[in-house]
Amino acid sequence: MTATAIAFLIFGSTVLYGGLITTIIISIKSSKK
């Protein structure tokens, strides 16, 4: 794969899966409260 394509693949994955993981962590934290 080209470096540009890899960069955008990582960009997309970071935003979407990073966002999802963050919300899951928040959900766990809030349920413990």
């Binding site: 960009f11 999802l20 928040i26 959900s27």
Partner: protein
Amino acid sequence: MEESREQWGSKIGFLLAAIGSAVGLGNIWRFPYLVYDNGGGAFLVPYFIAIITAAIPLLILEYGMGHKYKASTPLAFARATKRWEWLGWWPTINAFIILTYYSMILSWAIKYLTLSFNKGWGSDPNNYFYNDFLKLSSSPFEFTAIIWTVLIGIALLWVVNWYICYRGVKGGIEKVNKVLLPMLIIIMIIIVIRGVTLEGATLGLNQLFTPDWNKVKDPNVWIAAYGQVFFSLSLGMGIMMTYSSYLPKKTDINNSAFMTGFANCGFEFLCSIGVFSILGFMATSQGVALDEVVSSGIGLAFIVFPKVFSTMGLWGNILGVLFFICLIFAGLTSSVSLVEAVTAPIIDKTGWKRHKVVTAICTVGFIVSIAFATNAGLYLLDIVDNFINNYGIVVVGLLEAIVIGWIIKPETIRKHTNSISYFRIGKWWNIVIKFITPVILAFMLISSLINEFNNPYGGYPIAALCTYGWAIIGIGIIAALLISRRPWKNKSIKDNEGEAN
């Protein structure tokens, strides 16, 4: 005696059901092509902006409405502002119409799942699909035969829908989603892993992710991004309001909306990697450019992919089986949510028992679906789907944003969701609901209308577009207005009213 409102067994059950509803066929066969056709990696910029400025705010809105008023869509609108009750019935009717043809597509997927074991579509999947399987007639008005295989599949789907919804929110919908959604994700991951290890996969992925920044300057690309997140998240169909009405009093609405949005979009991103890896393999093995094999929708699932699977040996059988299982699972979790979006308003309105309502909906739905099991069914599906999506759902979304933004006031919903959520949303959300969402949806609607009048959809005769398209929209609105004039007969909703307000 009326029953009290059902509830989800757990928050994770609600989330899986909401994600299951959002994750549908469009995630698998629409999104990958959309990225490729609208600037590749550069499309991710408008897409992410659309998620943050429209998808998640609208999810918060629908979850907030359903939860605050403890009601299905029509009852939520009736409780907020009686005059706009019909705006809750219109998406209910749209959901019923979508169900009638959704079952037809799932019926095709069941047939193709059975064919995958021996690649029964033969050497020419195109000819097989249109002529041997669907026996497609030459015009949308030529109903000369019933396709029995399709009809049997449709009947099976309705029985499955009936069984799941008959068992209720916790015992049926939640349980099914807890099994099907994780399985769907695991199967898709297997497809992606096999896809990216195929020879030529990088060709597909390079073309998918290499950005074309010129496209980002095109307003149509932004419309496509907002349209995708809107349709993909089952917004404007009454599903999310209904689902959130079954949540307990103390639930983190804001975070649930973010989680649903990211999970749905993350899944379609994963699908795009799998689909384009396989298309890259196909282009490489045939020695042609990628744009010669790229496709979306029905063409991708029932013609292009069978062609690819035919060239693969044993892996073709395995990937074929996995792919069609994915389509069936994704479709089933969505179709169940559509049945529930129709069931809940009728229970709220009449006070009838769930068993009676679900049985009636599934029986009538099956009878209407027979029209799609004919040799003109594909034309019908194509026209009805275009009008329901571009006019039915978009107009509902637009009116929903206007009514809540300017009449009910978004502050009412924002206060409610903030009072029960771990993190609060700011006043920016009010601006999104009042201004940004209506403007974007109005832009989408106007652009569809201009296109429609300049080039009537799909080159179909005007008579067919009026009969199966405009008439369906008109009937939906009239029926919604008439139903909204009927009184609410369910006594238990009065008990919930105080709680809701």
